[in-house]
Amino acid sequence: MATLIESTPDVERKRNFRFRSLTATYVKELGVKSLLGACAALSVLTTLAIVVVLFTEASRFFQADDVYCDAAVVEDGVSHKCGSFVATSTRDSAGTQVACSTCGKLHTMPAEVTLVGFLTGSKWQPLIGRESEKKFGVWALITGTLLVSVIAMCLALPLGLITAIYLSEYANAHVRATIKPTLEVLAGIPTVVYGFFALTVITPTLKTFHDGFNTFNAMAGGIAVGILCLPIVSSLVEDALQAVPRSLREGAYGMGATKFEVSTKVVVPAALSGIISAFLLAVSRAVGETMIVALCVGSRPQMSLDPRDDMQTMTGWMVQMVLGDVSNYDVEYLSMYAVAALLFLMTLALTFAGNLVRRRFREEYQ
């Protein structure tokens, strides 16, 4: 208070300014900061929730072949559940009847579910009638996911890379003003639209070229996912190319190199880690893609690499589960969580690696 009065002699004495209480300011500051911090903590909670939900439910899936007796037992006039452990289902016992050792009730052993069987098996047949024939080998789904992703990357990576080189090294402002918004629009189109496009345009077109294509096929899905990933690849790669210092280019031009040579022999190698990161992030996007594959890739899980066939991806299985009439407590339903957990780990590893490489690359040129 005193400060003002001493140092601003012309205005002050007649006025009754006083400094705001700093305590109040600091209390408010602390309150606001805690509130903002709480919002930030929400994102950590989200990750935590994803991990807890996916892995607890997935662990229920892997314990689903432990059979506990559910017979009602009357003891001392009080009725309660028997609850005793009957047996763990195995490949041989699935579908057979096993009696509870305590109360004698007969139980049909469910399909065998093991972590090893899940991660190594190549047959995914959860919906086939007899218990002994149900199989949960996730590689049948992974194959579908990988096939679609590989097709998508074969399309998106070269096209995205060349588009990015063009935008970064060649295009003038006028051309950029056409292509950039086009890519932004492509990136903003909802995936269900791409799914519909794949089903009603890409597949019929493929069929006119070759009769072998099924109505649902991995190729159409892969192409649609590729179009979806194209803007992602091109914008990330363009960022990487732009981060390459001007001096490198000038050095190469100074030695008489053509634009082609500068682009492919200087700029692209210098931005290689940025390009790899773009690739990883795009693969992660392709692996998690749901609506396109749910619409046009089909629902037949199989270990096939024929892009003309219908297949099922990991995400496709989840969609089939929620659309189907399966009880929440069935093994099939719980398998959705196991597949989701695996998908989460796969995409997490890809984004993590992608972002790590990207950050390294950025630091390199700062």
Partner: protein
């Protein structure tokens, strides 16, 4: 003699092929042009094919009708309203939380080493959340919001609810609905007993004409109006008011909005962070130099300067929410909705989900309405994006 020796490259004279190099340069340039035009080609083909298929089904009826089983009458009304509800609720939560997180991460960087680690952990965490497939968020929402892991009962028999009245409904022989109010939704269904009273359509209490069996049913209309057979059981219905709330959320608008919020939060946060980072450091220093606290600087200087960028990012995030189908599909499943939501706890569907439903049917007619739905969806997204572009340009001209 060193000086008389020829330059080592002179022997290669004549082997340099500048014409060849020029050729490759040109060839590569044209390949680039061709490849870059492919994306434009994709977009054109996509738009034309969808317009071609859908434009004939696009009319007023399509906008207001519910998705009838017959494709020629099918409309997108409930899905349109569902999208509006879900996105508004989602935005109300996601935008403030996202911007707050961005402000915290950008402006409140701590000095202590340990807290700095926490900060970069949150940052890393958000970057990774942005890469989690939306279908995984759907599974999370299904478990966390829809059923709340079974901790709070089920949506039919919720652990807690308010703003809703439960009734047991009977249909009298005269085809009148008779309602018996229920206090506790976990009570068993009411059974017709002699002398019972019920509410009629107008909300008045009436005496129920209880008969012993179907054979004793009166023949005249007046007698049949409120006649019920003894021992008949009822169906439970609920009449929610607009503020209806319950735990768990069930497959409701609120569950969908929260799930979408989790999907778009990383996008809102990252784009807001970029906008905030774009505010010159000197402005912050000026504020701090005037003895403002960090929050005073944020509120009076940084945020106002970053608002155009934050708005652009938020609009793009909202358009992502509008187009997102996978998480909603996971948590809502295959449901058939004929009416627009009227409370946060109502069942709902959204446009992309309705489009998916139509597109996955084999009949050609449904593909046409799906395409019409896509045209509508893309139209809405186009408006959103145009607004974002306008804001960006406005901010650009204002600052320069």
């Amino acid at each position: 003699m060193k000086t008389s020796q020829p330059h080592p490259l002179e022997r290669l004279a004549g082997k340099v092929q500048p014409r060849n190099r020029q050729f490759w340069d040109h060839a590569f340039r044209w390949m680039c042009v061709a490849v870059a035009s492919i994306s434009i080609l994709f977009l054109i083909v996509l738009l034309i094919s969808i317009l071609y298929q859908g434009v004939s089904s696009l009319n007023w009826n399509f906008l207001v009708h519910y998705p009838e089983p017959n494709p020629t009458n099918a409309g997108i009304g409930p899905a349109l309203w569902g999208t509006i509800w879900v996105c508004i609720v989602c935005g109300v939560f996601a935008l403030p939380i996202g911007v707050a997180t961005a402000v915290f991460l950008e402006e409140f960087q701590p000095r202590s080493k340990w807290l700095r680690r926490c900060h970069s952990f949150i940052q890393l965490n958000i970057t990774n959340l942005a890469g989690v497939p939306s279908v995984v968020y759907g599974i999370l929402g299904l478990t966390l919001f829809v059923s709340m892991a079974g901790q709070f009962g089920t949506a039919k028999e919720p652990y807690m609810s308010f703003g809703v009245k439960y009734y047991d409904q009977f249909l009298s022989a005269g085809e009148r609905a008779l309602l018996v109010p229920i206090e506790d939704p976990s009570m068993p269904a009411t059974v017709v007993v002699p002398g019972m009273k019920a509410l009629n359509n107008d909300g008045d209490w009436v005496e129920v004409n209880v008969v012993k069996s179907r054979r004793d049913m009166p023949r005249d209309d007046a007698g049949r109006e409120y006649a019920l057979v003894e021992g008949r059981s009822s169906g439970r219905i609920q009449k929610p008011s607009w503020y209806f709330f319950r735990l768990p959320f069930g497959r409701s608008v609120l569950a969908g909005a929260f799930t979408l919020m989790l999907v778009i939060l990383p996008i809102v946060i990252i784009s807001s962070q970029e906008a905030i980072r774009g505010v010159p450091r000197s402005l912050r220093e000026a504020g701090l130099g005037l003895a403002a606290t960090k929050w005073q600087v944020v509120r009076n200087v940084t945020l106002p300067a970053a608002i155009p960028g934050i708005m652009t990012g938020s609009i793009l995030a909202m358009s992502r929410a509008i187009g997102e189908a996978a998480p909603i599909l996971i948590l809502a499943g295959a449901i058939f909705i004929t009416s627009s939501p009227s409370s946060l706890m109502d069942d709902f569907t959204v446009m992309p989900l309705q489009i998916f439903d139509w597109a996955s049917r084999p009949q050609h007619g449904f593909h046409q309405v799906a395409a019409a739905g896509i045209i509508l969806l893309l139209g809405i997204l186009f408006i959103f994006n145009s607004v974002a572009v306008l804001i960006r340009q406005f901010a650009h001209t204002k600052s320069s």
